[in-house]
Symmetry: C2
Subunit: 219 residues, 2 copies
DNA sequence: AACTATTTTTAGACCTATCTAAATTATTTA
DNA sequence: TAAATAATTTAGATAGGTCTAAAAATAGTT
């Protein structure tokens, strides 16, 4: 079993490598983990001993297949718990992260698979980030803001950028929720505002400002 | 903040003192915690420094008000999580404990109060043990098996003794569930079997064997 | 009361995770 | 390319939690 700390290091490395795809530097890990470079070096040696990362002195690190599996499992748990807190326990968006940071380390296959089922197997978390499945597979398609798409595109709403209460209340009032199907019926050239339908039923006009703050993928 | 380990010690001491009400011995703690007496002594000093227990060398320990508050909070969380796993996530009775052991250490006021609400503020866990409220108050009345009560008593079912699948299926089939009102209509002297009503509606005959395995309090 | 057995505590070690300060290696830059 | 700067690693400490073996205190028994 890996310690909470080890899991957090692996998660941090995963996220750092995700964008750059180069080996990750000791300093960047230290920054992300809010710790000192010396502590990172110590931990890297331990993780390397467990074959969770590939590590060569002064050369940075990347995850092994084994390490990536652990990282993806932690990320899966984190994102499912966030979803659960938000959807089932009436948490606010900004309250979700800290608790999920704790819950992501709970060790129980059954627990997480049941939470997944309880939520009806969501593919994206409330921030629009993909949720890895039980095998660590992640939906490749990345979310974009609705303003990025064009006329006649059929989308699935996966998240939001702005998490303020006013914005979320507006979404609520307009009947826009995670998982909804959004079709772009018209793009007004003048101000880039959109005419859309929600779940093939309700029609709605949204400003470009709103469109920029809603995340979606093509369905 | 107290460590998981410290919380577990406090919980163990609470449970040991609950029955005997005398100071708790180092050895009994060691046994309950599956550790060695020397380790217990070390920890007792730390807990005493934090004013969580009263400790005098060789004289055993008991909880301070502060320590008891922590213990009750951990027990509350444990029992609520057990309830949640059982009722909402389709866990089996025997799968519940180990996961609750982990979840009981998650630190979030809001999380546990929302779980409490989600479960509709249960007063007893599935084993018939009382669930402390947010202030650490516990329902004083202890659960007894139904066979312990007499004619015309009005009860609330709080738990079961036997957790086997056959028994639980029988309860299910008979419409007996946690929180139900049970009224004892008749006690057959010959074999101590009972005629009861469930929620003032359905009538049911149960053997003494069954009655012994159902826990309840008077309402 | 004195001796024995049991319980509890101390002493000394170890492991994990962290830190500061110093040493080493890599990278820039003049 | 040699000196200066930045990044990384090592060395040595500290803190939490655990252990074994030995010492001290308490409880039991004759």
């Amino acid at each position: 079993m890996n310690s909470f700390t080890a899991e957090n290091y692996l998660k941090a490395i995963y996220k750092l490598v995700e964008h750059s795809s180069n080996p990750v530097s000791t300093n960047s890990i230290a920054e992300k983990m809010n710790t000192k470079a010396a502590s990172v070096t110590d931990m890297l040696k331990k993780l390397a001993n467990k074959k969770l990362i590939n590590y060569q002195k002064y050369q940075g690190v990347y995850l092994t297949t084994k390490g990536e599996k652990v990282a993806l499992s932690v990320i899966r748990k984190h994102r499912l718990w966030e979803m659960f807190l938000l959807e089932k326990l009436d948490f606010k968006w900004d309250e979700v992260h800290d608790v999920a940071e704790q819950l992501e380390h709970i060790n129980s296959e059954k627990l997480i698979s049941q939470i997944d089922k309880f939520l009806n197997y969501p593919k994206f978390d409330p921030h629009g980030d993909p949720i890895p499945d039980a095998n660590g597979k992640i939906q490749q398609q990345k979310s974009n803001s609705v303003s990025h798409y064009k006329k006649n595109d059929a989308l699935i709403m996966t998240g939001v950028v702005d998490h303020s209460a006013v914005f979320l209340q507006y979404l609520d009032k307009s009947g826009l929720a995670l998982g909804n199907e959004i079709r772009i019926k018209e793009v007004i050239e003048f101000d880039k505002s959109l005419k859309i339908t929600i779940n093939k039923k309700n029609t709605l006009f949204i400003s470009n400002e709103v469109a920029k703050n809603i995340l979606a993928i093509t369905r």
